[in-house]
């Protein structure tokens, strides 16, 4: 959906900003918001561009740098850490050949760490785009990533 349509789906008030940004980013293969888009949203909502940038910088879901089509977020907090016997993050990094914060050369995956995902009863856990993956094992992680890679 083009940005214009997304803007049309939300009330034209400043408090729509986060909802618009979430929707826009999810639409895009690069998983990021560009400077031009930030400007257009600011104009549409009648707020300053700096306010849009402040929101983009504050919330961890948003990025102004291009990312991969799929964003993998590995939980790094204590409840997952203490049940992680094989190192989830390293398994993901080794499989894709990139470190946390990096994007694969084919722009398919970006690896990130995340704060608690709220499924500590089924950890270790990770989230890829809008899907949660729990009770992870090294084998399962490789399978999940291979399936998405296609």
């Amino acid at each position: 959906m083009p940005l214009k349509d997304i803007l049309g789906n939300h009330p034209r008030t400043p408090d729509s900003l986060i909802g618009i940004l979430l929707e826009l980013q999810a639409e895009k293969d690069r998983n990021c918001v560009t400077e031009e888009e930030a400007r257009e949203i600011a104009l549409h909502l009648g707020i300053t561009e700096s306010r849009v940038c402040a929101v983009l910088a504050f919330y961890s879901f948003f990025s102004t740098k291009p990312r991969g089509k799929h964003v993998i977020r590995v939980c790094k907090d204590v409840p997952c850490h203490v049940v992680d016997t094989f190192d989830v993050l390293r398994t993901v990094e080794d499989f894709l050949g990139v470190k946390a914060g990096e994007t694969t050369a084919n722009r398919k995956f970006t690896v990130e760490t995340t704060s608690c995902l709220g499924c500590c009863d089924k950890g270790p856990a990770m989230r890829i785009d809008g899907d949660l993956y729990v009770d992870l094992t090294a084998e399962r992680i490789r399978q999940i990533l291979a399936d998405i890679r296609g």
Binding site: D15, L17, Y59, K76, V78, P79, V82, V83, G118
Partner: protein
């Protein structure tokens, strides 16, 4: 010891996506009962029940309702805080995914009692399923006349808008949440004025936790007097506990206040996984104290938890066994807060960065007695001078560790005598 499921009685028993299933299990009957009562009478019932906030702080819910009810502004907001970002907590997600209408029913009852017509349900962005489930429930409730105008044939009107977070722990703090709903970065405000005076868009706003709202229909259904008989004198009713870490059965368990932590871990959790020894337990979440095994006989109630000078009532019990080093755990916790601090006030923004450096010194065995003293004093300063609950409670794990695991700190110092 077994559970007492009064708030979670429908969870797992009904199809959360079916309002008919909810109605067939006494759904919206408490709202019907509340609408036949006056607002003050409803607040009185909650007061008699002595319901306290389930998000952690334990503020009496009836007092909060009263402060909103006395405001004369025609626009008031009732907000449900579903920004459950505290590591180790997943009870609100469990409620939203399994019994969404119960939360809407609780919000509607509070709205009726306080004269609010608009509600927000703010759910963290990581909770994809909870967001979908709650949005669906709101739509169904509107269609069937449990939200909107002339609810249940009365003059009462109330509607709820579901809002998604975008990855920020601090948005669970009430003013940060308000800023976020207004479409801004989630940075807290200076109090007073309190949200019940000036909240969202400057209008009176009352914010409570998901579990708190879920308790309201229970109280209306069974009466406040009966509800107050459950639990202990200072902490009535039940608490949803989130058991995680190195324990055999992880999950959400509902027990009356007053049970011991040990009985929850052993009887419901089946004890430590793999028959290992418990080394430490963190209570409440990342902002809670870390305690040694000999303290597990302490009971779960607000009064007992106040000793830790922290808002540790959220309900997480994170069991950590003897394979783990205290300092590695503390490092993860301080890194979490260093990342999540909103940066508005100095003690929290700079303090967490310094805490991280200090804990690293203990890990590398470079620490001196002077570091131990600085660590303790910095933790205290942050606790006393930070602007919001995040900054005030983030050093709790360190303050508790310095008290209960002091030997471990001294062990890392080469010449503790100097």
């Amino acid at each position: 010891m077994s559970e007492l499921r009064i708030v979670t009685k429908r969870c797992g028993q009904i199809n959360p996506l079916s309002i008919d299933d909810f109605l067939a299990h006494e759904g919206y009957l408490a709202l019907e009962k509340a609408l036949a009562m006056t607002g003050p009478a409803v607040i009185d019932e909650v007061k008699t029940a002595y319901l306290r906030g389930r998000g952690g702080a334990g503020f009496p819910t009836a007092t909060k309702m009263m402060s909103l009810a006395v405001e004369s502004d025609p626009v008031k907001y009732v907000v449900c805080n579903g920004d459950e970002g505290e590591p180790g907590n997943f009870k609100d997600r469990y409620l939203m995914e399994n019994d969404p209408h119960m939360i809407l029913e609780g919000m509607a009852i509070v709205a009726h009692a306080t004269g609010a017509k608009n509600g927000f349900l703010y759910i963290r962005g990581e909770y994809d399923l909870a967001l979908k489930t709650m949005k669906w429930a709101v739509e169904q409730a509107r269609k069937r006349g449990y939200l909107g105008r002339q609810i249940l044939g009365t003059s009462f009107e109330f509607d709820v808008e579901v809002r998604s977070g975008a990855g920020s722990y601090v948005c669970g703090e009430e003013f940060a949440l308000i800023e976020s709903i207004e479409g801004k970065p989630g940075r807290t405000r200076v109090k007073p004025p309190f949200p019940t005076q000036k909240g969202i868009f400057g209008k009176p706003t009352s914010i409570s936790n998901v579990e708190t709202f879920a308790n309201v229909p229970v109280i209306l259904a069974m009466t406040g007097k009966e509800y107050a008989k459950i639990g202990t004198k200072s902490s009535t009713g039940t608490k949803l506990l989130c058991l995680s870490g190195n324990v055999r059965n992880r999950g959400v368990f509902e027990v009356p206040f007053g049970r011991s932590i040990r009985s929850v871990i052993d009887d419901l959790g089946g004890g430590a996984a793999g028959d290992r020894k418990i080394r430490m337990v963190q209570l409440g979440g990342a902002c809670g104290p870390i305690i040694p095994p000999f303290m597990l006989d302490m009971t779960i109630d607000y009064e007992r938890f106040e000793e830790f000078e922290s808002k540790t009532g959220a309900g997480a019990i994170i069991v950590i066994d003897d394979r783990f080093d205290l300092f590695q755990i503390l490092l993860r916790i301080v890194r979490f807060f260093a990342h999540e601090s909103c940066g508005k006030c100095v003690p929290c923004r700079e303090g967490n960065a310094q805490l991280e450096l200090m804990i690293a010194k203990f890990i590398d065995r470079r620490a001196t007695m002077a570091d131990l003293v600085s660590l303790e004093s910095l933790a205290r300063v942050m606790h006393q001078t930070s602007l919001c609950g995040l900054g005030q409670t983030c050093p709790t794990s360190i303050i508790a560790a310095l008290r209960y695991f002091r030997e471990d700190f001294l062990d890392r110092i080469e010449y503790p005598g100097l």
